[in-house]
């Protein structure tokens, strides 16, 4: 490692331990601390309408979900197109508690952080079960297996009375040290709650990738037979990759349930699964910060296209069908363009910018 840990222009590792640092330079660490501080402090200084706070919260929930998907698809190389169902499992865990114990039960109102973790655990259990076919299936066949889970999930929720046949099951407001979180505080409160969750799971993923279990994921993705020969257990690795993805998705689902104060099947359909996959691809598969870029890019694109569709729908009556198609069209186009021209996603742009800044004023 460079002797000056503030202005290192390259990575000069002298030991494996150095290579496993969370932050390579002091500048990296300081920048991260400042970023996290800024993310926690800005709502105190800037007033944002509920609409935009909801958009921001929604992006953050998607970040948690995409982090999970990135683990299974990006790091472990196992394609999953049923991720929204895992998110739904987390959300419906909260809803089930509400239906069985009563909406205002203390567990839901006061022990909500525990409930969120518990929802993650249920997601992990389902993830592990759905991951079992990964022991035998790969590529397209595994994709179909995860797709079937998505279908089973939707069918079950849609037709079971217990789940209100997919209609919204309401979720109550939670309590905090200052009392019940009111409507005016709701979105800001959940901004902080989700942010804490992101910081925790973000560092958890970063740490996981430093451990042998994290390296196993990458090894199994690159060549599972070679990984097996090296003494790793590809089967176990694949199942725990799915379980971990299920955990993250479950947490995201619980956060979604509390944020929207209700759980309905419409938020966990196949199109949402594809949307999560698109976020992971656009952000950059197999990178931690890709999980941040993807949701941000796709949600903002969604917002812009929504406005364009609305304008077209309002002003060009003859083009209403076109307006209806704009969202899926732009969405599909973005995925195709990224796959063709930037398969490493926005994370690669970030890497280029970083290396440019790091080497500035020298270039090569």
């Amino acid at each position: 490692m460079s002797s000056n840990r503030w202005f290192a222009t390259g990575n000069y590792f002298t030991s494996y331990k150095e290579e496993q640092r969370i932050f390579f330079t002091s500048l990296d660490r300081s920048a991260m601390v400042l970023l996290i501080l800024a993310l926690f402090l800005w709502p105190l200084f800037i007033q944002v309408d509920n609409k935009y706070m909801l958009v921001i919260d929604n992006i953050l929930v998607a970040v948690v979900a995409v982090m999970g998907l990135n683990l299974v698809t990006g790091f472990a190389g196992l394609i999953s197109i049923g991720h929204a169902a895992f998110v739904g499992i987390g959300a419906y865990t909260i809803a089930c508690f509400g239906r069985v114990l009563g909406e205002n039960h203390m567990l839901l109102t006061h022990a909500w952080p525990l409930m969120i973790v518990f929802a993650g655990c249920i997601g992990a259990v389902f993830g592990g079960i759905v991951g079992l076919p990964a022991l035998r299936l790969r590529h397209l066949y595994l994709a179909i297996a995860t797709l079937s889970f998505q279908m089973i999930f939707q069918w079950t929720i849609n037709f079971m009375d217990f789940f209100n046949q997919g209609q919204t099951i309401s979720v109550t407001r939670v309590a905090w040290v200052t009392g019940t979180v009111s409507r005016s505080e709701h979105y800001t409160f959940w901004y902080y709650a989700i942010l804490v969750a992101i910081v925790l799971v973000g560092f958890a993923v970063r740490n996981l990738l430093r451990t042998r279990y994290g390296r196993c994921l990458v090894a199994v993705r690159d060549n599972d037979r070679a990984a097996d020969a090296m003494g790793m257990h590809p089967g176990f690795t694949k199942v725990y990759a799915f379980a971990l993805a299920g955990f993250f998705a479950g947490v995201a689902g619980a956060l979604h349930a509390y944020l929207y104060r209700g759980v309905g099947i419409e938020s966990f359909t196949l199109s949402h699964s594809i949307s999560f996959l698109a976020m992971a691809i656009v952000g950059g598969l197999g990178t931690l910060h890709g999980a941040f870029w993807g949701p941000l890019a796709i949600k903002i694109l969604d917002l812009q296209v929504e406005q364009l569709s609305e304008w077209v729908g309002n002003h060009l009556t003859f083009a209403t069908n076109l307006a209806t198609a704009l969202k899926p069209l732009s969405f599909g186009l973005v995925i195709v363009l990224f796959l063709m021209f930037e398969p490493r996603g926005i994370a690669n742009w970030w890497r280029i910018v970083r290396s440019y800044v790091k080497l500035w004023p020298f270039r090569y």
């Binding site: 509920n50 958009v55 309401s170 419409e266 569709s309 309002n314 009556t317 209403t320």
Partner: protein
Amino acid sequence: MNMNNKIKWMFLVVAVFMVTLPVHTFAAGKVYKLGLSLAITGPTSDAGNPYAKGVEDYFNFVNDTKMLGEDKIDCTIRDDQYNNDITKRNFEDFMSQGIVFYLNYSTGSTLALKKDFEEEKIAVIPASFHAGNLIDSNYIFLPIASYSAQAIGLAEYIVNNHKGGTPKVALFIHPSAFGRGPVEDVQKAVSAGLKMEIIEVVEHGKDLDNTAMLQRLLSKGVQYVISQTVQSPVATMLKDAAGLGLAAKTFGEAGKLTFLGCHYTGGNDLVALAGPAADNFYWTTSYIITNEPSAGATAQLDLAKKYNRDEKAANSHNYANGMMVAQVATEVIKRAKAKGKEINKANLYEEMLAMNGDKAFSPGTTVGPVTYSKTDHAGVDSLQLYVVKDGAFKSAGTPFIPVYTGKIK
């Protein structure tokens, strides 16, 4: 012009602007903000699009004709693409803008936002007539009779006009809260004494062919099919029935199927989709139709003409639907103003609850008056039965109120 003159002119313009500004502000009156979130694009936009136009045109008409004096209604219309999460975002946006009355659209989003409406204490009229919207809710007002009342009304018509023994009926429904809503209530009506037999409840998918289903229903002795869904699946079913020669030529023809449907199954769009197969389809709604002359139909067509709407939108029952909710919202504002009340959420809610008895409102676009009270949140209680004859809907009988709706309460 030299520099001095330029400066003088600039000062003069600024001075005139400053003097006239307050005058304009006072003369402009107040602006009442309303919001509407609905599917202009995406699923069900075929209904949402004319609905939005009806709302927009009527509020423009209110402002252009100074119906509220110098005061104006500013109704922001947002597309939610039939997505609950977007509807929630739109609603939050409207609340930040300070709306005093809210117009919603889908069943799913109305149910999902019910608690928000309660907390915000804002009167809401959705385009969904799902009876479940009113459970545990004080602020949601259905514009017309619920889907349950419509389905029960159709069931009563079958029972009253069927010749022979107990009529055998199938329900053909949308696989969602919107479609399933009336099933339980129709079953309750049967339990309460409505003499008919429900043979099967069919939740349709995205089937492009209903042959097997129609043959199955017929083999079970079904004679009537009540639909609670949107137009396209009904059109597919009608075309298949016509192709197979299973559609009844007259009401209740033995050995054939007579098709009936609730509000969103019918209208001109169904005729356009099903063509001649739509003949003899029975449809109920509380709205008037433009095929038949009436003051309401003239008002609807004139409004559409004034704002350059095409024939399709002008004659749509969903245009009338949108127009009617805008009429109700305008009426409560007018009434609150007449009483010298401030136009806010609480006072408009109060006016909604007072809309009954001699204060019932007749918008002209419906077959009966709009009445609301603390215990009655369904606007127009009367329904009209229409039937397709020679490619156009025609009235069948006079407006009626289903009897069993009251009996199962």
